[in-house]
């Protein structure tokens, strides 16, 4: 309750361009938002720039009376997701992912399940995530890289928990197929 009040006070001050409040909000949430974007994009500088854009868009939204409904951080994740989509649109999808860009998984004998689990690298995972649909990528990052639970992801993505479970299942299945292709 205190955190909600704290955020409400901070956002009210941020709305009036209070740099201390904006700085506090940035300090409090930029780490998570940066991680989320970084896991989707994989470029540190770009992730930093897009993180800044998330907070600017947040400022615009609160000034236009379009604030979050239930979870402030969930709302930020949603803004971040939209910014990532915009970014990909600007760059052009073709430029983003191609099979050639995807790092090869080293060949290993034995259970393919173990291969995936033990030899997956950040780059390989990111490359594979880029080949998922936007929603599948979002659920993978939020759920398994950011550690949100089903209820939290459902708030961020504005879907029912059942829909998120189904989406999660499809996302993991697709990701596995992509990784096994390599």
């Amino acid at each position: 309750m205190a955190a909600v009040n704290d955020e409400a006070v901070l956002l009210e001050r941020a709305k009036a361009y209070d740099s201390a409040a904006l700085g506090l909000l940035y300090d409090r949430y930029s780490g998570r938002i940066y991680n989320y974007i970084y896991h989707r994009i994989g470029e540190s500088h770009l992730a930093e720039d897009l993180t800044g854009q998330v907070f600017l868009r947040m400022l615009e939204a609160i000034q236009n009376q379009r604030a979050w409904q239930t979870s402030f951080s969930g709302w930020l994740y949603r803004i971040a997701h939209n910014i990532i989509i915009d970014h990909y649109r600007r760059r052009g999808r073709a430029q983003q992912t191609s099979l050639e860009d995807t790092p090869d998984l080293p060949a290993h004998e034995g259970d393919p399940m173990e291969t995936v689990a033990e030899h997956l690298s950040q780059e390989q995972l990111r490359a594979a995530i880029k080949r998922l649909t936007a929603e599948q990528a979002q659920v993978i990052v939020l759920r398994f890289l950011e550690g949100l639970n089903i209820a939290e992801v459902s708030k961020v993505m504005r879907k029912s928990e059942g829909a998120i479970k189904a989406l999660q299942y499809r996302a993991v299945t697709s990701l596995r197929e992509i990784l096994e292709e390599e």
Binding site: N5, G23, E48, G52, S71, M113, L145, A166, Q168, V172
Partner: protein, 526 residues
């Protein structure tokens, strides 16, 4: 429920069970028909989570840059919004006058601009203004045409002072400036804040400090002003230990130097008098050139002159570790009077001789001192108008006390809830608390709603100036700011880790000093 929906539900159920500590076998045993489908998916998830547990490589420098750029962008937006509002107002206002007035006003503005010229218009320009490059170019031309070295040095010093005044104006106006460069003397050093010629310079993780500057040293500062009145250092370069821009000769040569004489001048290499070595020496950049001191006799000279008279004009260059002046001047009396006006802290006060900021100010008898706003005691902020001497000292013509020295006040201690954090003024339990320079803050990260123990001084004017604040760790007691009627019991003082030092201009959100945890945990509200 479809087969896929069953598997999706089973996958989630297993994930939760594994998180709760159950074994994979036990979980799969509950879904005998799904084992083959679930096992590889759970392994894939385990691989993803393993990578997720590796901290993302967010360079601290990048994070600081991102934060600064965000705040600059915010300020620019605010400015743009204000300007749009003003333009809208002006537009309406203009048309309310009627077309005739509008035309006349426009014509008048045009005439004024044409009459004064862009050079004159640029005189008051500040960094970031369109005309600022014109101002700087004009100054360069002035320097170029200053053929007298002494006058040129004086001009350069004057320009340095102008740079510092510009920085001050930028800060006071809350303007944005991407790069501000100035030269000054370090007056104090704390981990996050240096005072350079009275300017508060905030040190960040990205600040590059070249050399090992110490208090009293002269440094060149490149900084950025994000528009919130703060000055964030990007680079600080040491120019030497207390070396003024040009040699400040405070000695009076005994025998009046003649063109035939070559003198070895004595130099003071710090703003204050420095004991000179028995055989003062100066390393010359042009050792074969005839050297003459450019100093004029000063009525307050404190050093014994050691001029050597020689029938042939030769110099005897020997090295000193700190002073590297370049003297190529022939003895010429100052041909013009350089009037100066500057502000600074009154640091030392000896009869007839004051130190203001880093400069020596000589007070001839009868110098008017305006003490309307407070007594001219050490620590007061004063404005000096006077004439600069070739040795860099200022002969004061008038002095105005702008701000008196801080009165110590009486100790004041209380504990209450933080209600607002606004830069260097916080509201705690309805009391406005100023954060004193060098104040320390420990315990939890300051945040609205948390309990704070304040040690402060209450000044005679009633202002509360905190010297130490301990913020209660969160979770000990949740304070709801909406209903601040709760009366939290004072708890034991939190140990002083981490300790943050706040500058007078620091904000509660100004970087990592107040944010010990760069990746805060998810709030329970999510």
């Amino acid at each position: 429920m479809s087969n896929q929906a069953h598997r999706a539900a089973a996958l989630e159920e297993c994930l939760e069970a594994l998180k709760a500590g159950e074994s994979l076998a036990a979980c799969l045993a509950r879904h005998p028909g799904q084992t083959e489908a679930l096992r590889p998916l759970l392994a894939t998830i385990a691989g993803i989570e393993r990578l997720g547990s590796v901290p993302s490589p967010r360079p601290a420098e990048g994070a600081a840059r991102g934060r600064a750029e965000f705040l600059v962008a915010v300020t620019q937006r605010r400015r743009a919004q204000e300007q749009r509002r003003q333009r809208r107002y002006s537009f309406r206002h203009l048309f309310s006058w009627g077309a005739g007035w509008a035309t006349a006003a426009a014509a008048l503005v045009l005439v004024v601009i044409l009459a004064t010229g862009s050079v004159a218009a640029s005189a008051g320009a500040l960094p970031g203004d369109v005309l600022y490059p014109v101002k700087r170019a004009t100054e360069q031309v002035q320097v170029f045409f200053s053929f007298n070295p002494a006058a040129r040095d004086a001009l350069r010093e004057q320009l340095d002072e102008r740079r510092r005044q510009e920085v001050l104006q930028v800060l006071e106006a809350g303007r944005i400036a991407r790069t501000l460069t100035f030269v000054g003397f370090i007056e104090s050093i704390s981990p996050s804040l240096w005072e350079i010629n009275g300017l508060p310079v905030q040190i960040q993780s990205i600040t590059r400090v070249e050399g090992q500057p110490r208090v009293g040293d002269q440094v060149q500062v490149s900084a950025t002003a994000p528009g919130d009145g703060t000055l964030l250092a990007l680079r600080i370069r040491s120019l030497g230990a207390g070396t003024p821009l040009r040699p400040t000769a405070t000695a009076t040569p005994g025998p009046t130097p003649t063109p035939e004489a070559s003198a070895t001048p004595t130099l003071a290499t710090s703003p204050g008098p420095t004991p000179l070595p028995a055989t003062p020496a100066v390393r010359l950049d042009t050792p074969t050139a005839p050297m003459e001191p450019t100093a004029t006799p000063s009525p307050t000279a404190t050093h014994t002159p050691t001029a050597t008279v020689s029938p042939t004009p030769t110099s005897t260059p020997t090295a000193t570790p700190t002073a590297t002046p370049t003297w190529t001047a022939t003895p010429q009396p100052p041909t013009r009077v350089v009037s100066v006006r500057f502000e600074g802290t009154l640091r030392e006060k000896v009869a007839g001789r004051w130190i203001v900021g880093s400069r020596t100010v000589l007070l001839p008898g009868g110098t008017p001192i305006d003490e309307t706003r407070g007594a001219a005691t050490v620590g007061a902020w004063v404005q000096v108008s006077g004439v600069e001497q070739p040795d860099g000292a200022i002969v004061a013509q008038s002095i105005v006390v702008l701000t008196p020295a801080e009165a110590p006040g009486e100790p004041y201690e209380f504990t209450d809830v933080i209600e607002a954090i606004g830069g260097d003024v916080w509201t705690i339990g309805g009391v406005q608390v100023h954060i004193a320079p060098g104040a320390t803050i420990d315990g939890a990260t300051p945040a609205v709603g948390r309990l704070a123990h304040v040690k402060a001084m209450r000044r005679p004017n009633g202002e509360i100036w905190a010297t130490h604040i301990t913020v209660e760790e969160p979770g000990v007691e949740e304070i709801d700011t909406a209903t601040p009627t709760a009366s939290p019991a004072p708890s034991s003082t939190v140990t002083a880790t981490p300790v943050a030092t706040l500058s007078p201009t620091a904000t509660a959100a100004s970087g990592s000093a107040l944010s010990p945890s760069p990746t805060p945990t998810l709030p329970p509200t999510l």
